[in-house]
């Protein structure tokens, strides 16, 4: 039997309906919003700014600090208790690693660039939505940045390789599932985030990564447009 048709009817290489906008939080130095289906994230950047406590300061360059947080009403199940969890701390950390390689923080010794990712609604793919929004927010904040970063989850449901798994697919019970969030730099194609849980063969992984690459190109085009739209001549 196999997974012949996606639960929501999408093609296997089709992402959910996406939306990107830049400059959505006025008080922040840079901000953006990114949506895929029913998962959407705000990202706000404050920085470079003073870093306290002093012992955390790096005299060689600025540091990047990411905070991923799900809002209490963002889960389709029970309320999420505010204050973060081990999961959100881990996601914060991999988000930081996903973004740091494109930033040049040498111009900001002793300072910090804070990235806040807040999710009001999640239905799988939240860390990827967060990273995609955060990259736009960092660019919007005018930071020295070599490239943009986009993220999406690819994976496998039963016998099919697919992109942008939604919640129902992650929870699919009639066959093996693998969920692979991946982030890549837009122009140099380097992988900055790679995680997986589930079951997958080496060959399937390769196929999934290929599919991911082309999906990420689509997301990158959206990011570019969102950034340019904010600044285009009135």
């Amino acid at each position: 039997m196999g997974y012949d048709k996606r639960i929501d009817g999408r093609k296997f290489n089709e992402m959910r309906k996406m939306e990107a906008k830049v400059g959505v939080i006025k008080r922040a130095d840079g901000s953006a919003y990114f949506r895929t289906g029913n998962t959407w994230a705000y990202a706000a950047v404050y920085g470079p700014r003073e870093l306290y406590p002093k012992f955390k300061q790096n005299p060689g360059k600025g540091i990047l600090r990411c905070n991923y947080n799900m809002l209490p009403f963002s889960s389709s199940h029970d309320r999420v208790r505010p204050g973060g969890s081990r999961r959100s701390k881990e996601i914060s950390m991999v988000t930081e690693k996903a973004l740091i390689s494109v930033l040049d923080l040498s111009q900001y010794p002793n300072a910090v660039v804070d990235v806040f990712i807040e999710l009001p609604e999640t239905e799988a793919g939240s860390r990827c939505a967060g990273i995609t929004a955060a990259a736009m927010a960092l660019a919007d904040a005018g930071l020295a940045m070599k490239d943009l970063v986009a993220a999406v989850s690819v994976g496998r449901v039963d016998d099919k390789i697919l992109v942008d798994l939604d919640y129902a697919e992650e929870a699919y019970e009639d066959g093996p599932v693998a969920d692979i969030p991946i982030a890549m730099t837009a122009n140099t194609g380097k992988v900055t985030l790679l995680q997986m849980d589930g079951l997958i063969s080496k060959e399937q992984l390769n196929e999934a990564l290929d599919m991911g690459k082309s999906s990420l190109k689509e997301i990158y085009e959206l990011q570019k447009k969102a950034l340019k739209d904010k600044y285009k001549v009135v």
Partner: protein, 243 residues
């Protein structure tokens, strides 16, 4: 074989390819990777001969030697004051640089500049670790009182000042307000309250429309409408987008 992939005033995002080949030079905000020149930030393309550079449209202020900045006193030190510069790096104003008068050791420094007061000063030094020294000795440098501070995008400051100060002068003349524009993106406005409102609106308008052409005329029309008075004077030279 070289190729320029963008044109003047294009908005480019980090990682976007600007040119291929060795004919062009990577200017500020760009970098070279092999044959390609690539955008190193979000910015506006500015081509100057062979150099391609990017003009920033956003980004916080970073202190630079020689800049005139509007600061707030945030701490009183043993021999001076620490200032909030609207950047990640605070500045120090030493007693020596505070005034042309001689300040006694142990004098009450709040008599000169007190916490939360605003001053306009000039940066004399920025070390590699971004320690910033400023001075109050110089023309136009003084304490700012009775007014309000407006935060603007530091990258728009050149437009707000205008060529040889023409834009800010026009605003000052039209409203009768004192307007002090700091390179650090803080603008001190002091005048009759209803006129201050006009100054703030005008500056916000410049920020919003900074990379359009004919801006000076637009602001002139706006000021005339808001104040109900015609603005006399010479035609102001059209400004190029400056860095």
């Amino acid at each position: 074989m070289s190729e320029l992939l963008v044109k003047q005033k294009d908005i480019v995002v980090p990682g976007e390819e600007l040119a291929i080949g060795m004919d062009n030079l990577p200017g500020q905000g760009t970098y070279r990777e092999g044959e390609k020149i690539i955008a190193g930030r979000l910015g506006l393309v500015s081509i100057d001969g062979r150099a391609i550079k990017l003009i920033p449209m956003s980004g916080r202020y970073l202190p630079k030697k020689g800049d005139t900045i509007v600061c707030k006193i945030m701490d009183i030190l043993m021999t001076g004051w620490r200032l909030d510069t609207n950047s990640p790096y605070s500045a120090v104003l030493s007693m020596k640089e505070a005034t042309s008068d001689y300040i006694q050791r142990g004098a009450d420094l709040t008599q000169y500049y007190d916490l939360e007061e605003w001053i306009v000063c000039k940066i004399t030094q920025v070390t590699s670790q971004k320690l910033v020294d400023v001075t109050m000795k110089g023309p136009g440098l003084r304490k700012l009182t009775n007014g309000t501070v407006l935060k603007v995008n530091t990258n728009k400051v050149p437009r707000i000042i205008g060529k040889q100060g023409s834009m800010v002068s026009m605003i000052k003349d039209a409203t009768g307000c004192r307007v002090t524009v700091g390179q650090n993106g803080l603008v001190y406005v002091d005048g009759e309250p209803s006129k201050e409102v006009i100054v703030i609106k005008a500056i916000k308008k410049i920020e919003a429309e900074s990379h359009t052409s004919g801006l000076t005329d637009k602001i002139k029309v706006f000021l005339e409408k808001e104040t109900g008075q015609k603005i006399a004077g010479q035609k102001v030279p059209e400004q190029k987008v400056k860095e």
